[in-house]
Amino acid sequence: MIFYNPTENDVLTSWIRYNPKSTFIMTQLGGIKSIDVVAIMDQLSIQLAARNIQQLDANSLVTGRDFQSKIWKLALSVPIGIAVVSETMPQSTIANVFYELGLMNALGKETLVIKTQDFIIPSDFIRTEYIEYDDSFENRFTNFLNQVLDQAEYYRILADNLIAKPLLSIDYLRRAYLITGENSHRQRAIQIIDENEFDEHLLLMIRSYFNIQN
């Protein structure tokens, strides 16, 4: 419930607009892309659209703030982060992608790396789930999306069984809600708010998670 803005190091105390049922795509945005990267992006778009999952990237937010802050808020607002990397990408792009991926892992998001065959994953990310772009890509990506939905169900079961700690319960509900957008998670959060006392900061954070206006 405490988030630090990386550009100011201050605790976030403002309303964040969350994006349920969305993904943050971390990859090369400008410049010339390899054939494999274009093909990966096309398949991603088809599968995400079929499940009604919104695709967001660093170009999706237009704000006057600096880029790092913009990226951080985007990473915070979505349930899923997908990194697409290729050996053909500039080193600076790959550094940005892995910075964003690390950020999303720290924020408790569901993450996936999609890589071309010749790309070598940095050792710190060796345990991060990844899919290689090959003949089985489509099936493996489908499996990942199915697993994310299972994860949402797991979070809901944990929320229901950790109710002795209302804040912990709400945090699991938040993640289930972000993945599925299901109103039942939001309703349960409202019920927990009504049954417990939270301070002003926590209430603001909780209300913004579920977009609960006063």
């Binding site: 169900e153 079961i157 069984n161 950790l162 109710i163 002795a164």
Partner: protein
């Protein structure tokens, strides 16, 4: 009517391993290292809507 158990377990889809939850304390108390569920611990399931 079923009696709620104090300790239950749930399988984490990401790891494929079970976690044990103390419902009374509201805490995850153990992560199973090996495959399969804990013995003699009820498996918590999603509530029907």
């Amino acid at each position: 009517m079923s009696v709620k158990k104090r300790v239950v377990q749930v399988k984490n889809p990401k790891t494929g391993k079970y976690v044990k939850i103390d419902r009374e304390k509201g805490r995850i108390v153990a992560h199973k290292k090996s495959v399969g569920p804990y013995k003699n611990v009820a498996v918590a399931r999603k509530r029907s809507a």
